[in-house]
């Protein structure tokens, strides 16, 4: 993190009172969500408070505060430049990988501030996995090695048998096993675009993360592959908290439980307009901007 001295990072830890407050808010959100499970089942995976992010001198997101529900799919929608991807990258500390990038505010995963100086970024990324917009399998590796790579980075499994088992399980979870089981030794880039993206999802699942961040995972895919990835997300929801950035409002309304709408402010920094249960946000938004956006009047 390259936070300069004039923008010190607040490293607050959550007091029990704050936690209670958050739960109350989560319950309030839930009441309006007719499709949601019962209020006492709602669990917060990630809380974001006053998050701002910069690339060099340019602020790209401003003062975002939002709660992310566990075992649900949260969609982040909004026009280009509204900071959707940057927000996602702040959630697993990938934002800071870009030279000159910095952020302020807090992001807590289950009450732990992931920007705490004692926290190792790699450990955050192990818990909060990310799938990129472009399929990016390692070009010099086989299908098998691509899926096994995260286990090797992090020493997750011991022995060939355990590794074989992990690779098969993740490929099955990503609905790719039947298509590749006879050619695990082939190069990862020999697959089609849709298969490559599912390979990348399998690779992220091999991390055994708790949260999946997906940055427009279907934007490079054809409609059939898109459908496969969306079905996959629905099945993964039981075990993972999923946050998906999408340009496609139909996709957001199809797959997500909660939707957050971002817009670009006059200072060209993105900000959160509102966040609500998906059905509510699309049918009865509180903010006029949201209504204009979801009805296709801008963006």
């Amino acid at each position: 993190m390259t936070a300069p001295s004039d923008q010190p990072r607040a490293t607050m830890s959550l007091s029990p009172a704050t936690l209670q407050g958050l739960e109350a808010r989560a319950a309030a959100v839930d009441e309006s969500d007719v499709t949601a499970t019962q209020a006492d089942d709602v669990d917060l995976a990630i809380t974001v408070r006053d998050l701002s992010a910069w690339y060099g001198a340019r602020r790209v997101i401003r003062d975002v505060s939002m709660d992310i529900r566990a075992n649900a799919i949260t969609a982040i929608i909004g026009p280009s430049g509204s900071g959707k991807s940057t927000l996602l990258r702040c959630l697993d500390r990938m934002h800071e990988v870009v030279p000159g990038a910095r952020s302020s505010g807090t992001v807590s995963y289950q009450g732990v501030d992931i920007y705490d100086p004692r926290i190792e970024p790699a450990a955050v990324r192990r818990t909060i996995g990310m799938v990129f917009q472009q399929p990016n399998p390692f070009p010099t590796m086989s299908i098998y090695d691509n899926v096994a790579a995260p286990a090797r980075f992090n020493g997750l499994v011991k022995g060939k048998a355990a590794q074989d088992e992990l690779v098969e399980r993740c490929l099955r979870q990503a609905a790719l096993w039947d298509e590749v089981k006879d050619k695990l030794g082939h190069g990862g880039t020999s697959l089609s675009g849709g298969q490559q993206q599912r390979l990348c999802i399998a690779r992220t699942l091999a991390l055994q993360p708790k949260v999946l961040l997906m940055d427009e995972p279907c934007s490079a895919l054809d409609p059939i592959a898109t459908l496969q990835v969306e079905e996959l997300m629905s099945t993964l929801k039981a075990d993972y908290t999923i946050i998906i950035v999408t340009h496609n409002m139909q996709q957001a309304s199809r797959v997500s439980d909660v939707t957050a709408f971002f817009n670009m402010g006059e200072d060209r920094a993105g900000y959160l307009v509102e966040s609500d249960a998906t059905r509510t946000l699309f049918t009865n938004p509180k903010n006029q901007l949201t209504e204009d956006y979801v009805s296709g009047r801008f963006g």
Partner: protein, 326 residues
Amino acid sequence: MTQSAEVPEPPRLDLGGLRRRGWTGDLTFRAILSTLTLGITVVLGVMMVESFISASPVYQKFGIIGFITGSTWAPSFTVYGAWAFIYGTFLTSLIALVIAVPVSVLIALLLTELAPARLRAPLGIAVDLLAAVPSVVYGLWGLLVLVPAMRPLEQAIAGTLGRVVPFFGPPTPGSSYFAAGVILAVMIVPIVSAVTREVFASTPRLQREAVLALGGTRWDVARTVTLPIGRAGLLAAVVLGLGRAMGETIAVTMVIGNSDNIGKSIFSPGFTLASVIANEFNEATETLHPEALIALGTVLLVMSVLVNGAAIAIRNRFTGGSRSGF
């Protein structure tokens, strides 16, 4: 409305800004560039032909193959063979590569993956500046500092490994193929590391981030993505370094020991093609001696062209391959 009586001008096609401007500028520019480019090629060709003709008495006496493979160089007996110098050129270049390539790769990795962003530029410039040191300074430093300093190391190797393998055996007079190789290594590190750095820096960002997002460390980035994707470019850098090492003259002449014979050990004194020319040309008064040295120059020229051609071919395959690769 006083001009209402005026007859309107007949309509004329107005080309405006689309009108073709004078194109003598383009022609002149093209002529200058073509001449310069052609000129360089002609110079290379003339050098090859001229040196071949000048040296032809040597080829007539010994034959081209006989000259290249002949291992005796005895000007006073008018016997000339290039093999000892070809051997010396290859051996010193090989030693240089064995030392310089790992060092350059590590420097390039440090500067692209590991060093803090604000240190990368200064460190990179410092390495690049090594290339600006005149080679005679390297030669002096080698002769006065490096050769004496390496004596104990050479003696240790010759006394242990050298007892089993004569190639690493004694004697260890100091000036040697090994000393020349070490000096060459220092001299080619800047070029090899600069090219390697470019190659590593062009690693697709998406690949780099894939490793980091999977909980990988910077070392994981290096071994999973940077090195495998950059291996063709690395090969090109190595061959480029080889080309430089083969042609280096004065620094090698100062530390290689200047012996016409093929040394049995890497610690023996010897000669390279470039250094024997530099060392003997001024006093080449024997029969055919100047011609034989010119012939050595031709051999070196052909070897350099081949090696640099190989570097270009590898680089082209690398840049062509990267487009379809991912």
